[in-house]
């Protein structure tokens, strides 16, 4: 190949690559773009296809909060996801210390059990959990959701934190133990401060999982006031059962997506490292 031939080939290659990148971005981002455009259209404008609304308006956004207790739904989701993260991190870090730092019989088996729990389908515990939640008087109660969400956040928190815990150098503990520190002191004084970044990552992933959960939230709550955001968005309905208020649905979708976009942009490195550490579910 001569030099003259080389150049156009490379330009063509780069152009092709650039087009591929462009296609990937368009594919990923277009649905969000379209949701935003649709949410800003009022009345009949919604039914015309145009790249940007000729007369953008906020009516759908105000309607979301007026037609249903959407503010309350957001608060519910924050409460449930927040308490799930706090509980799973607290329980998870103690278990991870035992599983990651101490050699004892049955450790491999326990890890397998924990991994197994994270894999089994939510619907397989639905009837048993329903009975349990009713027996505890937690039906249509946010704490019932917190409790049931631990099924999927806890195994995964333990798993990922154990991975991080194992990577800590052995010398850390040895020095403290020579000084006669108890395991509890070793955990709280030495590991806890060092585990900060790992716990932030794991907590973030647990938060997203709890924030997005649908099946339990749909089944264990009854009234509009107790619903979390995903259920509220799934059940938005209009005046007639045939015509869904798409403008409002898109507005609600945009509202819950924006904070997640913020989280992702700020913490993307952490999220990716957490995902690869645990190779967690998507």
């Amino acid at each position: 190949m001569t030099l003259q031939q080389m150049k156009p080939m490379r330009i063509l290659g780069r152009a092709g690559f650039f087009l591929l990148v462009l296609a990937i971005v368009a594919y990923t981002v277009f649905p969000f773009y379209w949701a935003i455009v649709s949410s800003l259209k009022g009345g009949a404008a919604l039914f015309s296809v145009e790249a940007w609304p000729s007369a953008p308006e906020w009516s759908n956004y105000t309607a979301v909060f007026q037609e249903q207790p959407f503010g309350r739904n957001i608060l519910n989701s924050v409460i449930v996801a927040g308490s799930v993260v706090a509980l799973s991190l607290f329980l998870g870090v103690t278990a991870a210390f035992a599983l990651g730092r101490v050699q004892f019989r049955g450790r491999g088996f326990l890890l397998l059990v924990i991994l197994g729990v994270s894999m089994f389908p939510q619907v397989a515990v639905l009837s048993g959990l329903f009975e349990l939640i009713r027996a505890l008087g937690l039906y249509n109660n946010l704490f019932g959701l917190t409790l049931s969400y631990l099924i999927f956040t806890l195994p995964f928190t333990v798993w990922v934190l154990t991975t991080y815990m194992r990577e800590m150098p052995m010398e850390l503990e040895e020095a403290a133990m020579m000084d006669g520190a108890s395991p509890f002191v070793v955990l709280t004084r030495i590991f806890l401060p060092l585990m900060g970044p790992a716990m932030a990552t794991t907590g973030l992933l647990a938060f997203i999982a709890a924030w997005n959960e649908f099946l339990f939230a749909l089944t264990f709550t009854l009234t509009d006031e107790m619903r979390t955001v995903p259920v509220a968005i799934a059940l938005i309905s209009g005046s007639s059962s045939f015509e869904l208020p798409w403008g409002r649905i898109m507005a609600a979708s945009v509202i819950v997506t924006l904070p997640l976009i913020g989280l992702v942009l700020v913490f993307q490195r952490r999220i990716v490292s957490g995902l690869t550490a645990g190779a967690v579910k998507g």
């Binding site: 949701a35 039914f47 101490v102 089994f120 939510q122 048993g128 329903f130 749909l218 995902l275 190779a279």
Partner: protein
């Protein structure tokens, strides 16, 4: 000194169990116990409104299940959904990962953008696509008509023959980024020297991919595929929001929940849920046997 080391070791092991106890109790209470109860319910005629007054009926629910064509449609839907969507996600994910792995400006921004579909609730992605696929006002119909691929608007999610494909398309959109990011993480661990050596040996880009890249990222890829497959087998939200309880797309989870909650038949619904549990257990066993993945081995590292 030896004696002291022994007692420290024993003390550590004792406290390890104390540290583990809260998690083990919680998991037993909210996962083990309900799973056991579900299996028990599947052997009874339990109803949602009178769960106390139940009668043991043996395997009768399972016999009904085996004879219900709707159940087998749900099994087929679930397997097709999981098989097709995970295959497409893996192929697309590898392509996207290779692109993101190239040295270029704005890679960080691109990677962050990829995370967004993964991070949003499935319900939201289902609603966004439901609107885009709308039979009368959907933008996808408009686009396809503009380029002349279809002559008139289609009802993608209501039409029996296209509903499952529509659901798969939405799932591929939502989870390809997950596969891409896990693949990308594996790609970034590969040393440059390997490729320099391959270049000297005159191996082209395609040869490099199949001879070097793919074998080296295979273990990581396999773990990602297993997690995605198990996740796809229990799919619920996507179908529930996009197509409701429609027969064309109903997954095993949708079927089980419909029996359990809508028809209040806890016994029969539990049998269906146990069926799904068994399918997932079998698939996991197959993966571990044939994919040559040692999850336990990795755990004991």
């Amino acid at each position: 000194m030896v004696e002291r080391a022994g007692t420290i070791q024993q003390q550590r092991q004792r406290s390890a169990w104390i540290f583990l106890l809260p998690v083990l109790i919680t998991i037993a209470a909210i996962a083990g116990w309900p799973l056991g109860r579900t299996i028990w319910f599947s052997l009874t005629d339990a109803r949602l409104d009178e769960m106390e007054a139940t009668r043991f009926i043996g395997l009768e629910n399972y016999l009904w299940l085996a004879r219900d064509p709707e159940w087998w449609v749900a099994v087929r839907n679930t397997l097709v959904f999981a098989g097709v969507s995970v295959t497409l996600e893996t192929l697309l994910g590898i392509i996207v990962a290779l692109v993101l792995n190239a040295k270029m400006r704005g890679r960080g921004v691109l990677r962050a953008a990829m995370l967004i579909p993964w991070a949003i609730p499935t319900v939201v992605s289902a609603q966004m696509w439901g609107w885009m696929l709308h039979d009368q006002y959907g933008v996808i119909n408009e686009m396809l008509m503009a380029v002349g691929l279809i002559a008139e608007p289609r009802a993608w999610t209501a039409n029996y023959s296209t509903a499952l494909a529509a659901v798969i398309a939405v799932d591929v959109w939502k989870t390809t980024p997950f596969m891409a990011l896990l693949t990308l993480a594996a790609l970034q661990l590969l040393p440059d020297e390997l490729y320099e050596a391959a270049e000297i040996d005159g191996l082209g880009p395609v040869g490099q991919f199949f001879r070097i890249t793919l074998p080296l990222i295979w273990p990581a890829l396999m773990v990602a595929i297993i997690f995605r497959t198990l996740d796809a087998l229990r799919v619920f939200d996507l179908m529930f929001v996009l197509t409701g309880n429609s027969r064309a797309t109903a997954s095993m989870s949708v079927y089980a929940r419909q029996q359990l909650v809508d028809f209040q038949d806890v016994g029969y619904g539990s049998a269906a849920a146990t069926g799904l549990f068994l399918v997932i257990a079998v698939v996991t066993a197959l993966f571990i046997t044939f994919g040559r993945v040692r999850l336990g081995g990795e755990a004991g590292r």
